[in-house]
């Protein structure tokens, strides 16, 4: 069983060992981290966190547009770690997640990808 270390920067750098195959929301909540969530399938953005180091596989998410992805946001209910990672969690990490869509429009390359073009990452 592969495990990785998750550091939560805005929780005094608390660290947790998590399984590579399990979604981060599930692993962290099971270890007592109080995280927001809603749909639990990657569609609603409520569980978004900011990845500041390492990589995750979040191909199943359908909530983020490309600007949010480029800003480092990850959808914890479907994201699985692919290395040791560092996260900022909760709404204090959501500073760049929400923007007024009239004042700050997206460029074509920043739009959300169509979910049908996303390969599934399997079980």
């Amino acid at each position: 069983m592969t495990t990785y270390r998750v550091t939560i920067a805005n929780r005094e750098n608390a660290t947790f060992e998590v399984e590579a195959r399990r979604p981060l929301l599930e692993s962290l909540r099971a270890q007592g981290v109080d995280l927001p969530y809603g749909c639990k399938y990657g569609g609603c953005i409520t569980c978004a966190a900011k990845l500041t180091a390492g990589t995750v596989n979040q191909r199943r998410q359908v909530a983020l547009n490309n600007r949010q992805i480029n800003a480092g946001y990850v959808i914890l209910c479907v994201a699985r770690p692919m290395s040791d990672i560092t996260l900022e969690i909760g709404v204090d990490s959501h500073g760049e997640l929400y923007r007024n869509p009239f004042l700050d429009p997206l460029e074509p390359h920043e739009l959300k990808a169509s979910p049908h073009q996303e390969p599934d990452d399997g079980p």
Binding site: D34, P36, Y37, G38, C39, K40, Y41, G43, C44, I45, T46, V62, A63, L64, N65, G90, V91, D92, H94, L97, Y98, R99, N100, P101, F102, L103, P105, L106, P108, L111, K112, P115
Partner: protein, 465 residues
């Protein structure tokens, strides 16, 4: 104080009505019902940063009561992350003839979790209690649906518009529940070519249902990207259904006049074919009716212009996210969430509404940043009118992610409920100076209130057969 309250008329009102079926024999009877003394509104923590469940708040609206204009009870949902939004009754005036039925249960769907909470409001109207939860996972597995929105009862059964399939993609369909709140399955025979779902209302004497379009849950839940309107990921059509056959028979393509057609309301008069829809982004009211030749027609009857803003490169759209028709079918109320005004139109001639009242509260145009001593975050959003048409209760939050985009300060300030006094005889609206419920001061921190309903029936649920 609380006990005195419990022994007062509040907690007895509903039982007084159990002589026949629920509701009223006619809209005229509803108008003459006793004044509301309690109302229920949902309040959310989902998306606010506060790790607490969403809840159903009971608000005291009896001016004679010592706790007038306060939240007197909070029923928390079992878990976090539901995003409660709209609600609906298990029964309404469409069951008036059925003595065995009563308006006892309020259904509270969670848009994000897919859970549907059935709340008993009759045993103690001041302190509603949770009766049952229909789990979101069960709904997804049995019906391939998610994203519950509008709840209407249908005789002794219930249908709920579901905006997505189990994966959150459009168009979703309609969940059918029996009166034990068990899943019957899908209500509709076919969705035809419908691309999106949102609200619906039916008028049985004309065998018709009208439904509107928002977007797929996966599109609207994360927030609003304007570009996605251009990419046709948001709706712009209304649909006419054969209600008995449960299938769409005709669609109106509204185009640029009808971007994001959200709330649909028929006249309460069961013989009328007239109805209205508020197109949120176009900020227009669309009117439909059946003409003398038996053909369904539509037209735009109200167009709220975009307004200039010193800091915006483009004029600000009004964002008309809700409409409501008074019980006497004389007035239509609408909100302009980004502008910050509530409006009243006389619709005696449904082809030619006349603006008769306007009140400012919050909004981006800066016309009423403070109301009754409360600094507003958000604008007028959801509202419920008293059966007699004299009191309009208005709340300020739209949907957590959309609030966060347009009114980020709502995180610290929370939502607000205010009351507008309306003149149903001559028209006109004024803000009531004595009523304000500041959800920014809730015990667990700032929450956001949305839809409101009264125990005895209201202007957005009752349908007559």
């Amino acid at each position: 104080m609380r006990d005195a309250h419990r022994n007062g008329i509040h907690c007895k009102r509903d039982s007084l009505m159990e002589c026949c079926g629920p509701g009223f024999a006619s809209p005229a009877d509803a108008i003459n019902a006793p004044r509301e003394t309690l109302l229920y509104t949902i309040a959310i923590y989902t998306g606010t940063g506060i790790q607490k469940p969403d809840y159903l708040a009971t608000v005291d609206v009896d001016p004679e009561s010592p706790t007038y204009s306060q939240v007197i009870h909070r029923l928390e949902m079992p878990g976090i992350g539901d995003e409660l939004h709209h609600m609906g009754w298990n029964a309404c005036s469409s069951c008036f003839g059925e003595a065995g039925m009563s308006r006892k249960y309020l259904l509270l769907p969670g848009v994000r979790s897919n859970n549907i909470h059935v709340v008993d409001t009759a045993t103690d109207p001041c302190a509603p209690r949770l009766h049952k939860v229909i789990e979101g996972a069960e709904i997804r597995a049995k019906t391939n649906l998610s994203g519950p929105h509008t709840v209407h009862c249908l005789g002794s059964e219930i249908i709920i518009s579901m905006l997505g399939d189990a994966r959150g993609e459009a168009p979703g369909g309609y969940l059918h529940l029996n009166n034990e709140f068990e899943i019957v399955g899908r209500w509709e025979s076919s969705m035809g070519d419908i691309k999106f779902g949102y609200d619906f209302w039916y008028q049985p004497r004309h065998n018709v249902m009208v439904s509107s379009e928002w977007a797929a849950p996966n599109t609207f839940m994360p927030g609003f990207d304007l570009e996605e309107v251009g990419h046709l990921k948001y709706g712009r059509e209304l649909h006419i259904w054969d209600f008995e056959k449960r299938e769409p028979v005709e669609s109106f393509y509204l185009g640029e006049d009808g971007l994001l057609p959200l709330e649909v309301k028929f006249h309460h008069d069961p013989d009328s074919t007239h109805g209205f829809c508020g197109a949120a982004l176009s900020s227009n009211v669309i009117h439909w009716w059946k003409d003398d030749a038996g053909k369904w027609q539509w037209e735009k009857v109200i167009d709220v212009e975009n307004e200039p803003h010193p800091e915006w490169p483009i004029p600000v759209p009004a964002v008309m996210s809700a409409i409501l028709v008074s019980m006497d079918d004389k007035y239509l109320y609408l909100n302009n969430w980004l502008h910050g005004d509530m409006r009243q139109y006389d619709i005696s001639d449904p082809h030619a509404p006349v603006l008769t009242g306007q009140v400012w509260m919050g909004g981006l145009l800066g016309k009423a940043p403070e109301v009754n001593g409360v600094k507003m975050a958000g604008g007028p959003q959801m509202f419920q009118l008293s059966l007699d048409g004299r009191r309009l209760y208005v709340t300020t939050s739209l949907f957590s992610t959309w609030d966060n985009q347009f009114y980020p300060e709502i995180r610290e300030r929370g939502g607000v409920m205010v009351m507008i006094d309306c003149d149903p005889i001559n028209g006109g609206m004024t803000l009531n100076p004595d009523f304000v419920v500041n959800f920014g001061k809730e015990p667990n921190g700032p929450s956001r209130c949305h839809e409101a309903r009264y125990p005895g029936g209201d202007c957005t649920s009752d349908i007559w057969l």
